[in-house]
Amino acid sequence: MSELMDILANGAFWVAVLRTATPLLLGTLGVLLCERAGVLNLGIEGIMVAGAFTGWLTVYAGHGLWTGVLVAALAGMVFGALHAWLTVGLALSQHVSGLGITMLATALSYYGYRVSFPKVNTPPTIAPFEAMDWLPIPILGEQTALTLLALLLVPLLAWVLMRTPLGLAVRMVGENPQAAEGQGIPVMAVRSGAIIAGSALMGVAGAFLTLSAFNAFFFNMINGRGWICVALVVFASWRPGKALLGALLFAFFDALQLRLQQSGDGLLPYQFYLMLPYLLSILALVLVARKAAYPQALMKPYRKGER
């Protein structure tokens, strides 16, 4: 018990929590935006791989870190546009299209890595984002600018969704596209735009890992983080503020299991600590399932004139 208190009293622990939460937060906001417009985006896992790879490759090629972030966002938008065309334009299954995009984006990234570095075993490193030493706030000051960006996106996305005509349009096409059409809202365009913007956030979420948390691109580095974001959106009841809460809670348990594992208390084999995040995600889904306020038109393709 005292061991637990030691961990919680340590500032480095909370720095780790916020760092772990950042990619989850960016990804969750991305999924949230897509789902508010009525489209599930299971491409996130692959889009994060593509963002991590393209962002890192850009910086490795000698461009600035922010250019890397921008390229990662663009890579996300390309795959988002593909998902939008398949699910909104052609009304294909959102589940299957998303999984296909995850596989395609992952395979393309690995292929691109191998073509770029044919004989390399350990990936070359880059100089990642530095901590914001100039910021006189204890834990936040030890993070990089991408974490600040992610935190600022929470109120921004909440404001856009809840307080602007654009946000109203996004929510309407996610709740009742027929009614939105009747109001003169271009359903297809709004849905596609939301998917592309959300996918850009997913790309940046991946780039955070190679440009801020680590300094190189590894295979399997996303390792299910994207799927956890999909679960976190349900936990957050499709609200940006709660998405922040969920990402932090999740990162808290993830950082805690890492510390408990390192402290070697021998209570449980380490694999069981590693299972915690996934089991917690499932538990979160079960707990909120009864009152989950799914966007009414989620996963329902919309075709003009068809019901």
């Binding site: 398949l86 052609l90 296909g100 073509v115 349900v234 069981f272 089991l279 075709r303």
Partner: protein, 353 residues
């Protein structure tokens, strides 16, 4: 741009669409081959030669196809009933664990059975283990409305960690020089070879047999009708007296059971013991295979052989012309998306506004 339903989709188009889509994919992927600095024609020739060009290549492809047929069938039967089981990877490992627990721990832990009981018991345990892992998400879906995609996906990670723990502790082979691998199956439990001097084993016959059985089940039985009805229109099915909950549970048992069997047959036919890298994503490939086959059990056999050929051929192609073997995954994933588009175009017409 808008979609307009075709009055009568032509049969020829429905067969030609997937083939055309795969050809289109190979054409586009040619650009990636050029990027790697290799000649497209020679690369594809090496790919197909490595997959189907000799008896040995063909036997390797068919060996690889065995687990893919089973995970493909697992995905096909589940998707038919709109149970989006993305957890075949974990279910495959659950089956492999159960198979090793029955067929490898045997003797040492004290229960002795004659072989004609032990072998079916091993397969049954594997099928039940796979089914049990899918039962939870299926019940959460029907009872609580929890989306099964995310739960089955997350359970893959849980299962792999559990296997890592088992191979580190209770199931670790003390004779394996510290390698994380399980004790081996008893020799008598291993499947026989279909072709001598190759790795191709009788599991292929089992997998093809199960594909035919599943096709008959879906086409000819009441349960099969219920599955198709629940998938086509759950509300109408419920109105017609089909219990959707019962159907989903039945499908979960079938789907998880098939994926579990894939694990047991892979252990009994190929590796004889369990390792953490036993499956290079067979569970996920099964989804692609099922979709390429239009969820048809017999089509699953054909598309599993296609995907297995790409994966096996890519390795020898990579050695021959130096194009990274990840191209196989690109071709498979891109085929999935283009087959989806192509089959849509057989049912709908694209019209400009």
């Amino acid at each position: 741009m808008r979609l307009e339903k075709r009055p009568t989709p032509s049969k020829a188009a429905m067969v030609a669409a997937p083939l055309g889509a795969v050809l289109f994919t190979l054409l586009v992927s040619g650009l990636l081959v050029l990027w790697a600095g290799a000649p497209v024609g020679a690369t594809y020739a090496a790919l197909f030669k490595g997959a189907f060009g000799s008896l040995f290549a063909l036997s390797e492809t068919l060996t690889r196809a065995v687990p893919l047929i089973l995970t493909g069938l697992a995905a096909a039967v589940a998707f038919r009933a709109r149970l989006f089981n993305i957890g075949a990877e974990g279910q495959l490992y659950a089956g492999a664990v159960a198979a090793v627990a029955v067929g490898g721990m045997h003797g040492g832990t004290g229960f002795e059975l004659p072989m004609y009981l032990l072998f079916p018991l091993m397969l049954l345990a594997a099928a039940l283990a796979g089914a049990a892992l899918l039962l939870g998400p299926a019940l959460m879906k029907t009872r609580l409305g929890v989306d099964e995609v995310v739960t089955t996906l997350l359970l893959n990670f849980v299962m792999l960690l559990l296997v890592a723990y088992l191979l580190d502790g209770p199931m670790k082979d003390p004779m394996a020089m510290g390698w994380p691998q399980s004790v081996a199956l008893q020799g008598d439990l291993e499947l026989g070879k279909l072709i001598p001097q190759t790795r191709l084993h009788t599991g292929l016959a089992v997998a093809v047999g199960l594909a035919v059985a599943l096709w008959l089940l879906l086409q000819r039985t009441v349960a099969g009708f219920d599955i198709r009805a629940a998938g086509a229109n759950p509300r109408a099915a419920a109105f017609a007296g089909v219990s959707v909950t019962r159907t989903v549970v039945l499908v979960a048992l079938l789907s998880g059971g098939l994926a579990g069997l894939a694990g047991a047959i892979e252990v009994a036919g190929r590796t004889s013991y369990l390792t953490l890298d036993m499956s290079p994503g067979y569970g996920y490939s099964g989804i692609v295979i099922a979709m390429l086959a239009g969820l048809h059990p017999l089509g699953v056999v054909a598309s599993a052989i296609f995907v297995a050929g790409m994966l096996v051929g890519a390795d020898s192609m990579s050695r021959a012309v130096g194009v990274p073997n990840a191209i196989a995954d690109v071709i498979v994933a891109a085929s999935l998306l283009s087959v989806l588009v192509a089959s849509l175009l057989t049912q709908y017409r694209l019209r400009r506004k």
